[in-house]
Amino acid sequence: MGARESKITPQDRAILDLKVQRDRLKKYSKKIQLVALREKEIAKEALLTGNKRKALLALKKKKYQEVLLEKTETQLINLEELTQTIEFALVEKEVLAGLARGNEILKEIHNEISLEQVEQIMEDTADAIAYQNEIEELLSGKITEDDEEEIMQELEAIVEEQIASEINASMPKVPDVELPTSTKDDIQSKVPPKKEEQQMLAA
């Protein structure tokens, strides 16, 4: 029981009192509306029986009830506003508390990370990276220095071979056909092939 009791704060009680008050006003305004309605009925009935005085009195009463109703409504709005302000203030308080807690934790974490430590770690990291680079240079450097020329030569050889084979592949067509045109045209025909090739095939 004690543990449960603690969940209800004095603010909760204050809010409840306000809300109860609001409920009471609501009930009251419901009642007034009913009374006003009844007065109207009474007035109608009185008029039917020709009792004008009674009808007038009933209407006056109705008017009075309506004034009361209006007053009640203003009070209701005031109450609701107050309750909402309090509830909002409570929310704000919680937000603030949340922020404060977050801040504290952030501070704690920062305490654990000192600037010197960070500097030290960064330096160590830089050292490690430099060391790694050195190792890489050493390992890769040996291979490239010795073999780079050889590799380049091999590459060139392959490229040349390819070019040669390409030329050879397209060459045999040339002597098969009797062409009055010069070799210049022949080379041109290779570059933009479409039309001339078709002509060649036709011939």
Binding site: R4, D12, R13
Partner: protein, 181 residues
């Protein structure tokens, strides 16, 4: 509001007399229970005053001029209590009873859902607000009987999902729902 649609058995005269055969009576009572439950659900009735109810259309079919006897109704209510569908109120008298077309646990669930849907967790809500407020309009528990509502809230309190508190004048009650939703 359209009127409640009674099943055809309602127009069968012997249905209003307690049948001597035990098996028949059981079936008859079950039928009555289902009629009572759907009737109360239809008109949102939470509490039946037995002698008053006997004069209403629920137990008095004017078109065939048959009405249920008080003792018969009491036996039916007893069966409902056994099934957890009703409860005498006050407990020691057999004059009126709560009719649980939703059991307090089920009411508790609907209220708890409503609280979550309306973001009312951790704020104070008055009982009047739950039963008659604008926020609960359209819910099944709108215009719920105060005593039934208290029973439902009691379920939530026992689960630790809510706590009731009294206003300064001790007549009005409020409830705080905790942030479970």
């Amino acid at each position: 509001m359209s009127a409640f649609d009674f099943p055809s058995i309602y127009n069968f005269p012997p249905f209003f007399t307690q049948q001597p055969n035990e098996a028949t009576w059981q079936t008859q009572a079950q039928l009555w229970i289902s009629i009572i439950l759907s009737y109360c659900r239809f008109y949102k009735i939470h509490r039946l005053d037995l002698s008053d109810a006997l004069t209403t259309e629920l137990f008095y079919n004017k078109s065939i001029n048959r009405r249920l006897k008080l003792e018969t109704l009491q036996s039916i209510i007893k069966m409902m209590i056994k099934q957890g569908l009703a409860e005498w109120d006050p407990p020691n008298k057999k004059t009126s009873a709560f009719i649980y077309w939703k059991k307090p646990e089920e009411w508790a669930t609907s209220i708890s859902n409503w609280v979550s849907e309306n973001g009312l967790n951790n704020s104070i809500v008055t009982l009047y607000e739950i039963a008659h407020g604008e926020a609960s309009e359209g819910t099944e528990f709108h215009e719920i009987d105060q005593a039934v509502l208290l029973k439902a809230l009691d379920v939530l309190v026992k689960k630790g999902e809510a706590q009731t508190l009294q206003a300064t004048n001790a007549e009005e009650m409020g409830v705080k729902f905790f942030g479970t939703g």
